[in-house]
């Protein structure tokens, strides 16, 4: 792994960490519950992107499955939370 790719990976991961911290700020002080669901949505997506970047860093294709699992469970959880906020119950 050359220095170019290594530096790019480190820079990208630093950007992701900063973005996660900013989303945590919104998660902490979001005025409504929808804001918090939105911030949580962004956080799990960034976590999935972190796994994809780590797959390139460690040259292993095993990270794809966990990234896919994070995508699936994140979608289910945020859709369930939005449905709960909309209706008061998840399954009607």
């Amino acid at each position: 792994m050359s220095m170019i790719l290594f530096g790019a990976i480190v820079f990208t991961l630093a950007c992701y960490v900063l973005a996660m911290g900013l989303a945590m700020v919104r998660l902490y002080r979001g005025p409504s519950a929808q804001d918090r669901v939105l911030a949580m949505d962004l956080i799990y997506t960034i976590g999935m992107l972190v796994l994809l970047v780590l797959a390139i860093r460690y040259r292993s294709a095993m990270y794809f499955e966990s990234a896919l699992l994070i995508a699936i469970f994140g979608f289910i959880s945020s859709a369930a939370m939005a449905k709960f906020l909309l209706r008061g119950e998840v399954i009607e």
Binding site: R26, L38, T45
Partner: protein, 134 residues
Amino acid sequence: MSGDLSLWVEIPVALLLVLSGLFTLSSAIGLVRFKTFFQRMHPPALAFSVSAWCVTLASIIYFSARSDGLALSAWLIIIFLSLTVPVTTILLARTELFRRRHNAANVSPADIPPALSHVLPAASDQEKLPQPPR
């Protein structure tokens, strides 16, 4: 497989990764800085679309160059993400609309996006003008 890849593979991968990092950072900044919920709904779409596409393309290029054929397993993630993100976004938008209507809140001037502020009457004229139906 331990040898370095050629520079023609590593430079596009590095560029795509840096681009995705910058887009994710700007979307998080937008999520923090925007004023209303309907404005805040838009910046995460940047992370969901552009950043995810960039990282997926980077990993496809990287793993395709390292193995013999095309390594397209990362397509699953971007297909799944592009299917599910609009569902979540529409549910959240409907939630915000429903709750705002349910609260029957007086819409304060801080809730109105600044792009629409020139439509509003000035504060002194507000008593004379007929109020729009809520």
